[in-house]
């Protein structure tokens, strides 16, 4: 098994943190192999943000992603820029309030209003990244609920554990609903 995903959007949306949580959940708590890499150099200066995570039950030869199994896009630009990297039959998860005209293609399109959920349920749109961790953990099928909970706790800022765990649970619920609809 090898599962490749990209979390993309802009700086300040916590996508690098989300990538680290997912990679740590897989590597530390679920005893898989994982790598996480992120936008770097001039790319990172541009304000766009990208976090690539590879999960595998084998050794991972190189941290560069090939065709993606899952792409999370928090901005329209990210969706448009990276959709071509998505494997046939892969999954494009978008923030439906931001990416109002999602690209079309041979992939599963999942729409979740991440930032709206963050704002409405927690009065903090910044927890959208953690909601996304919950959704992705459910939908990718390789990360355990316990693993992603523990990784979230070990990565979010001190004092925000409760709100972030609640956001994660919300994401897991959304993910379960989406999975049960399959």
């Amino acid at each position: 098994m090898k599962y490749e995903m990209r979390l993309s959007g802009s700086g300040g949306q916590g996508l690098v943190l989300a990538g680290r949580i997912l990679a740590e959940a897989a590597a530390l708590y679920d005893e898989l192999n994982a790598t996480q890499s992120q936008s770097y150099g001039p790319e990172a200066r541009g304000g766009a943000s990208r976090s690539d995570v590879i999960i595998s039950d084998q050794d991972i030869e190189f941290p560069k992603t090939g065709k993606l199994d899952l792409l999370l896009a928090f901005t329209k630009d990210a969706a448009d820029s990276y959709v071509e990297d998505l494997a046939e039959g892969g999954m494009l998860i978008i923030d439906e309030d931001v990416v109002t005209e999602p690209p079309a293609g041979d992939f599963r399109l999942v729409k979740v209003p991440f930032q709206r959920l963050g704002r409405e349920k927690f009065d903090r749109p910044v927890v959208a990244n953690i909601i996304a961790c919950g959704v992705i953990a459910c939908l990718c099928g390789h990360i355990s609920t316990e693993g992603v909970r523990a990784a979230t706790l070990s990565r979010v800022p001190r004092g925000t554990e409760d709100i972030n765990l609640s956001a994660l649970e919300l994401g897991l619920d959304v993910g379960r609903d989406l999975t049960s609809g399959d």
Partner: protein, 999 residues
């Protein structure tokens, strides 16, 4: 395990990162302790305190496990114990030191150095051993693993790998892959960015592979900065030395010459420094790295290459710099202090709160999360100001300070760049250096390719801007001399370069604009603009960069945008609309978008003011949506003018005041503000302007010519026509200058004064018209001359009466006005109102008969039947009959409807139509042309301004015709009623503006 419970308790204060280490300890520590006890080695390792002999103790740990998995687990547990206890110890020491010394900074410095060195030693020992476990007995190349990031941050470890490129490298590659997975699981995550950029898809890259990537192009200066910061963690010291000698040393300045790579890196870093210094701090949080720290780091990176310093540690580098550049010692000390503060804050945030760089500050609880950092840094609560608030304020001050230091250190770097620049030498050769000289366009291609990605080109741009564009001419000519394919190639490279730096692109384009005609390339600006704008893809990053450059350099971006053709502006607008990246830049993007839209919609007439104001006060380009801010600036300019001692300065400031107020009025009109308010504002500021200019003219004559005559009560300036009526956007300025004196010297002096005033008005684009020059041959008319003139009953005299009746005093006194009223207005116009009314009626009739109809597709909004001229004449007739002393035609109609109930309906109709026509006229002048002939197919923008919504242009055209037709009937109706009215019976004389009883 009591020790472990105690560790758990102590670690409670640490940030969330502690959990993954504690998780590993809970799983592996009991087995490790059993193994140590079984081997009798418990006393040989520090489990419950930080160790100063980590490598040796790791060897002991390694000797315990029976298999690789046990050894990895044991090493991971030891790493976890050490990192937790090292940090707990460092924190305790820091808190002690900040509380026991007067100056906190030495404590911060010791804390950083202590924890950084300890962490890096721990990582080096761990990485070497884990890698060895994965390599086992496999054949391996010669290699070295280097730390390339900062050692002051512990959530990840940036690693670069150099090998000899031999076949066995695949074994090393696999081992590093496993090492990376193991570090993610049990230590700090490894990032191998350099590996992702250099060589093939392997974690390791050989020196020839570095050469292959870096010889032809400067590439990514971030990779180079990391390489320059490399220090070996494990592996071959020889290979590391070779890497430094062959690869990284060429980025250091060499006084013997050959500084091509150093120059490229420096250009990259200067661009990076400028870009970081321009980055606004977010409104909703702070960024621990990008707001200030990266800027300071970049300054040190750049400076140490200038001085050839290969030391990787930044703090030590600053000390070394201070030794070799004693003149910069104070500045470097500030730099170091800022670096230490920002690094300390960042490390403490990571140790005590969280690991992300983006720190949201949305509410009080977010600020409160900084409390452990503040207390650790020794900040006390001070009355109502909490320690965390203080440390946050101090952090922001340090960020500002970092930018200030960058401003002061940039010239040092730029001066060095100029002294070594091979780029400049190649692109600006002296004639005698190259015979025959090289083709500059091809030279440019070569330079740009090598320097790809670098963004500092100020020196080259300055050379292009100087010498009347001579260098630019040579580039253009040399490009023209090339075959088509090469010409296109040049254009492609320039496009890539422009796209890489909008700041440089804007400067290049404005140079082309300035010198294009002179160098025989009048289309150069346009061609370059087409090229630049078609290279934009409308990405958020482009929006961010454009907004950033606009925010910091409105003086450059604003003229660039205002010089673009409308098709280009539309493209720019398309690019600007969409997601933005930094919330704090969104308003700047919006302001730039507004400027672009305004430039596209504005008529030449209005744009002239926009260009003039933004040239003089570039900041205005960023306030266009904030009329109150503009008003504030205008008031400041007027105050400055009033206080200015130098008349020239006063003259200039008054002009700027006028321009900015004109611009503000235009912007208000375009945003749909009520036209009568704008008309009133125009009257106010134009009067202030003319009054001020009159004073300046007087002073000039007095100071320069030594002439002075006190004509305070004898001379008055009246504005007539549109400016008198509060009709905005008139470009001619009708004046009636009256002198109540028959002294010939007064006459000469006042004429001299007005001639000077005229010159000043013309400079502002206001064309003065002096009606009295036709019959006096001067700018000034005396009372006697005016009396004689108005005593006539011919057509010319009628026009003068109209002018006088609609005149408004701008300069002069109330007693003067009283005399004018008593001796001229009252006897010659008001008492003869019936006669005047008849003349108005005759004028209307004859104009309708004589006037050629406007061409199809156009109306003359002023002169056509039912146009503004007729309505104004009716207003004058009403004024004379009712004895009103009011200059505004609109106000006259408003006053008339109260006492004159019988005519109210028609008067209301005229007032409504006049308001509409004036509004439409203003909108047309601002968006199409300063003409009264309105082209009916050009009304889309004007229609929108007057609030006609969809299909605004067509609707406005129809409405203009309808309203002017309605106006002709209302004009006829009011004139007939006036002719038939007996003012003593029909009109209630109750209104204050009514003067002496009508005759």
């Amino acid at each position: 395990l009591d020790h472990f419970d105690r560790l758990l308790e102590r670690a409670e204060e640490l940030g969330s990162w502690r959990r993954r280490y504690l998780y590993n300890l809970e799983r592996g520590l009991p087995d490790l302790i059993v193994r140590l006890e079984e081997r009798g080695k418990v006393e040989e390792v520090h489990l419950w305190s930080p160790s100063s002999a980590v490598p040796g103790e790791m060897e002991t740990i390694l000797s315990l496990g029976k298999n690789r998995e046990q050894r990895l687990s044991d090493l991971g547990c030891y790493f976890a114990l050490q990192i937790l206890q090292q940090n707990l110890g460092s924190l305790a020491l820091l808190r002690f030191q900040v509380r026991t010394s007067k100056d906190r900074h030495p404590a911060f410095h010791r804390f950083l150095r202590g924890s950084g060195d300890a962490f890096e030693s721990l990582v080096a020992a761990y990485v070497g051993r884990v890698l060895q476990l994965f390599l086992g007995e496999d054949e391996r190349p010669e290699f070295v693993l280097c730390a390339v990031g900062t050692k002051y941050h512990q959530d990840d470890v940036d690693i670069g790998v150099i090998d000899d490129g031999s076949e066995s490298r695949i074994n090393l590659h696999r081992a590093i892959g496993r090492l990376s997975g193991e570090m993610l699981r049990r230590a700090s995550e490894a990032h191998l960015y350099i590996s992702e950029h250099v060589g093939s898809d392997l974690y390791c890259a050989s020196i020839p592979e570095y050469h292959e990537l870096l010889d032809r192009q400067i590439q990514d200066f971030v990779v180079i900065s990391e390489m320059l910061a490399a220090r070996p963690l494990t592996g071959s010291a020889r290979l590391f030395q070779e890497f430094r000698t062959r690869i990284t040393s060429r980025y250091l300045y060499d006084p013997r010459g050959g500084n091509r790579y150093h120059e490229g890196y420096l250009r990259g870093m200067l661009g990076e420094i400028r870009s970081l210094a321009l980055r606004p701090v977010s409104r909703t949080g702070i960024h621990l790295k990008n707001d200030g720290l990266r800027l300071v780091q970049s300054l040190v990176f750049a400076l140490r290459t200038v001085e050839g310093i290969s030391e990787a540690d930044l703090l030590r580098s600053i000390d070394m710099l201070a030794e070799v550049r004693p003149e910069l010692r104070d500045l470097l000390a500030e730099l170091k202090q800022t670096l230490v503060f920002l690094e300390t804050f960042r490390l403490l945030y990571q140790l005590l709160v969280g690991e992300q760089e983006d720190v949201p500050l949305l509410g009080a609880e977010d600020v409160a999360s900084l409390r452990p950092i503040a207390l650790s840094m020794g900040y006390p609560d001070a009355g109502p100001v909490s320690a965390e608030q203080s440390v946050l304020v101090h952090w922001l001050e340090q960020v500002e300070h970092a930018r200030d230091i960058a401003d002061r250190l940039m010239p040092v770097l730029v001066e060095h760049l100029s002294s070594i620049s091979g780029v400049l030498r190649r692109l600006r050769p002296r004639e005698q250096e190259t015979t025959p000289r090289a083709n500059l366009a091809l030279e440019l291609v070569d330079v740009l390719r090598f320097q790809h990605g670098t963004r500092y080109w100020d020196d080259f741009l300055l050379a292009l801007e100087s010498d009347e564009g001579e260098l630019l001419r040579r580039f253009v000519e040399d490009r023209q001399a090339l075959p088509r394919e090469q010409r296109d190639q040049v254009l492609r490279e320039v496009t890539i370069w422009c796209h890489g730096s909008f700041l440089s692109a804007a400067r290049l384009l404005m140079t082309a604009k300035k010198h294009g005609r002179r160098i025989g390339a009048p289309r150069l600006f346009d061609d370059l603009a087409t090229m630049l704008l078609s290279s934009l893809e409308g990405k958020p990053d482009e929006r961010r960069r454009l907004a950033t450059v606009f925010r910091q350099y409105p003086q450059l971006v604003s003229p660039f945008v205002l010089a673009l053709r409308n098709e280009h502006i539309q493209r720019l607008e398309e690019v600007l609309v969409g997601e933005t990246i930094l919330d704090s830049l969104a308003p700047w993007r919006d302001r730039l978008l507004f400027l672009a839209g305004l430039s596209r919609r504005a008529s030449r007439y209005f744009k002239r003011y926009l260009v003039r104001v933004t040239e003089r006060l570039p900041i205005v380009a960023t306030y266009l949506e904030e009329p109150e801010e503009l008003h504030m600036l205008a008031k400041g300019l007027l105050a400055d003018a009033e206080l200015a001692e130098d008349v020239g300065e006063r003259d200039r400031l008054l002009g700027e005041f006028y321009d900015i107020e004109f611009l503000r009025g235009g912007l208000l009109t375009m945003s749909g503000a009520p036209h009568d308010e704008i008309g009133a504002a125009f009257m106010r500021f134009t009067d202030q302007f003319v009054e001020g200019l009159f004073d300046v003219a007087k002073q000039e004559i007095e100071w320069q010519e030594g002439e002075h005559r006190d004509l305070r009560d004898l001379l008055a300036i009246y504005t007539t026509g549109g400016h008198a009526r509060g009709q905005a956007y008139d470009d001619d300025y009708d004046l009636l200058v009256l002198l109540d004196s028959s002294d010939p010297e007064d006459l000469v002096y006042s004429n001299w004064l007005i001639a000077r005033l005229n010159r000043k008005l013309v400079k502002r684009g206001l064309i003065p018209h002096h009606r009295c020059t036709d019959w006096t041959g001067r700018f000034v008319a005396t009372f006697q001359e005016l009396q004689a003139r108005l005593g006539e009953d011919d057509a010319d005299s009628f026009i003068d009466k109209c002018q006088l009746l609609g005149a408004r005093r701008v300069v002069g006194t109330r007693p003067f006005e009283g005399r004018l009223d008593r001796h001229i207005l009252e006897p010659l116009i008001y008492r003869r109102s019936r006669h005047f009314l008849g003349a108005v009626g005759e004028e209307v009739r004859s104009r309708r008969l004589d006037r050629k109809p406007s061409e199809a597709g156009a109306v003359n909004i002023k002169e056509d039947p039912g146009g503004l001229r007729e309505i104004e004449m009716v207003a004058l007739a009403i004024k004379s009959v009712l004895g009103l002393r009011e200059t505004s035609a609109m106000q006259t109609l408003e006053y008339a409807r109260v006492p004159w109930i019988a005519a109210r309906r028609e008067v209301d109709t005229l007032a409504e139509i006049m308001g509409f026509l004036n509004h439409a006229r203003a909108a047309y002048r601002l968006t199409v042309a300063a003409s009264d002939i309105v082209e009916l197919d050009q009304l889309e923008e004007a229609g929108r301004i007057v609030g006609l919504g969809k299909h605004a242009g067509g609707r406005l055209a129809v409405r203009l015709k309808q309203q002017m037709s309605r106006a002709t009937h209302a004009v006829d109706g009011v004139l007939a009623r006036l002719a038939a009215a007996d003012p003593r019976k029909d009109i209630v004389p109750s209104h204050p503006p009514i003067g002496p009883a009508p005759g």
